[in-house]
Symmetry: C2
Subunit: 383 residues, 2 copies
């Protein structure tokens, strides 16, 4: 029997995780389930999985949760401090799936326990990469990457030494505009951008997939997770999204992880690590698929990966600025206030006018994030 | 500094191995180099790699070797007993690359030392699979598969447990006749059969690739190397030969090993195992390749894999009979005495009229092999 806390239980990664845990519920003891504000769904999950504690980040919704869980013996709490306290409770595994910068402090609390943290929060490694990896080293924690690409790389490194790696290649679907011309891209609409070919995702991440900022952010994450140096990290466009990523060793052997576009596969890999567990996913049938294709990314039409690489190289606060500027630009694009190709322009412009010193704490990361958003908004208003 | 013996040093696997060792010769001490009858080449290699002993299987060529190595301090010997004695000398790694049944006794001698044996001899696992794997278990030896497919599987199992495997898939190029109709196959000539699309190989193995018996023999080898059960072993045709094989785990993750069609990659993986070493092979460039394709094998046109699967299932002496009958049939095909599609017919006919009891020793395996060849030849003459 292993214990688990799920931070962000009502989101899509949380739901996939609980779907897997429900299939072998006797094997797990749930310590904490947390959500942002969906009291009804959190209560439903708490009744099913019987955690020690259920926490809502939005304290105003706590009365509703309390009422729904009255008499169950399940603790309830609300607010950021309660979230952090819940994340700090001992658990064999913490699945960190809170979206955005709100996830940073709870992730850090889990890391400070020195346990195993399955990380599904992008901001943690993009914006706070150096602060976070320093904490992982200091507290002897283990990070398991949940994102399908990073999880693939993690699997391809099993039984091998990272010092023997010649190249790590992230695969990218290329998004819905992969074959579009520059002129078509300039006229792309939000409705067109949110239709992702392979994965069912939210609007923000769908736009990131269309601009390739998603892959850029993943490049920064990979840079922190797998210390092989930026020059050994590459990206290949693979529209079928069957190969999730690859690791090439110095002898010329490349190991690749393949699988369905179903987050339950990488999540299961984290839940059972270093063993495996069953998932309800269909076996891979390459013969039925027939063809896998690969192409070089085009950084002229999709400059996001170039910007991300430059940000990773600069290090310090710069990736956090890139991430914040991108969020502001994507929100403006989705609101119809910014053209599609202007997203990358806007990120680049923000980066060129705001370059704060490297943050040395989570508080400083959050300050950089706030200030970068404010600068990015200002820039847009003055454009 | 590690010690190595190379059995079959003048063949193509031996040459590739020595090419790699020459690149880091200070790291290796060569114990034994052996060859069949090429005294001049063995002497040249001995002068370059300074083994303790150089052995020729063909004793009649020993005087030539002796003369060439006079005054070097390198021991020389000839004949089967000397070959076995050399294979039994302690070495950190034995690369077993003697072709055919002549390789069985030296492989067994190396296994009986309980060391690590990198196995490039197909017959060892096809004809003597049960006898050999029993010896590996008894003497605590470690088998590293050199064949690109089995080496790929071995790499995909690193850091994982074989009990967690759902499926192992061997890739097959499909050979030069992959797209030929049954009528075209019936008229295929030896010259057409020996042109392999991706690998530069000898005539026998090229014909085996064309008939798919090569993949059938590999299926039998995989059955012994990776005890997941025959029903978990599958074959997919992949004409580009970039993916060398795959392992799917119960969670839906598939790990694949990819690389160039260069035997130095799997050999290097064995030489450096569990680490890695440099090879001069080009990095993988999937974007330059563009497309990888996969299709189901067609066992109507290419019945070899079906016959091999049945032979593996029957076990005991049956795979040895299949292997012997195939060798006889291929020789007849290459000599222009048997049609291409008759190769599989002839193997099937031999299997249906000769089913000896399971051999319990290497001597009995060799007896089955001799008798099967004799029966196969008889059948052909009486056809």
């Amino acid at each position: 029997m292993r214990s688990i806390s799920i931070l962000g239980a009502t989101g899509s990664v949380g739901a996939s995780t609980l779907d897997l845990i429900a299939r072998e519920q006797d094997a797990w003891r749930v310590v904490a389930l947390t959500a942002n504000g969906n009291a009804a769904e959190l209560a439903r999950l708490a009744l099913q999985f019987r955690p020690e504690i259920a926490v809502l980040a939005d304290e105003t919704r706590l009365p509703e949760l309390r009422e729904l869980l009255t008499g169950t013996g399940i603790e309830t709490a609300g607010g950021e401090a309660a979230l952090i306290e819940a994340a700090a409770r001992p658990a064999d595994l913490t699945l960190a799936a809170i979206v955005g910068c709100a996830g940073l402090a709870p992730v850090m609390a889990a890391i400070e326990q020195g346990g195993t943290v399955a990380l599904a929060n992008k901001e943690a490694l993009v914006s706070a990469g150096e602060v976070l990896t320093a904490a992982v080293a200091k507290y002897g924690a283990t990070l398991l990457p949940v994102d399908s690409e990073h999880n693939a790389i993690f699997q391809c490194l099993a039984g091998n030494q990272i010092s023997q790696v010649r190249k790590i290649t992230l695969t990218a679907s290329g998004g819905p505009f992969r074959t579009w011309s520059a002129a078509q891209l300039a006229a792309a609409t939000p409705a067109q951008a949110v239709k992702h070919p392979n994965w069912d995702m939210g609007a923000k991440i769908s736009v990131d997939s269309a601009t390739m900022f998603n892959k850029g952010l993943e490049l920064i994450e990979a840079f922190h997770l797998f210390p092989v140096g930026l020059e050994r990290l590459s990206i290949v466009v693979h529209p079928q999204s069957v190969v999730h990523s690859m690791v090439e060793y110095r002898d010329g052997s490349t190991l690749a992880q393949l699988g369905p576009s179903d987050m339950r596969v990488p999540i299961a890999s984290c839940l059972a690590w270093p063993r495996r567990m069953d998932t309800p996913c269909e076996p891979l049938d390459l013969a039925a698929m027939g063809t896998l294709t690969f192409e070089h990314p085009d950084e002229d039409r999709f400059p996001a990966t170039r910007l991300a690489r430059q940000a990773a190289e600069a290090g310090g606060a710069i990736p956090a600025v890139l991430n914040a500027a991108n969020e502001v630009a994507v929100a403006a694009f989705l609101a119809g206030r910014l053209g599609f190709t202007r997203i990358a322009d806007h990120v680049e412009a923000t980066l060129s006018c705001y370059a704060p010193a490297a943050p040395s704490s989570l508080a400083e990361v959050l300050e950089v994030d706030r200030e970068a958003r404010s600068r990015a908004r200002e820039l847009m208003e003055n454009a």
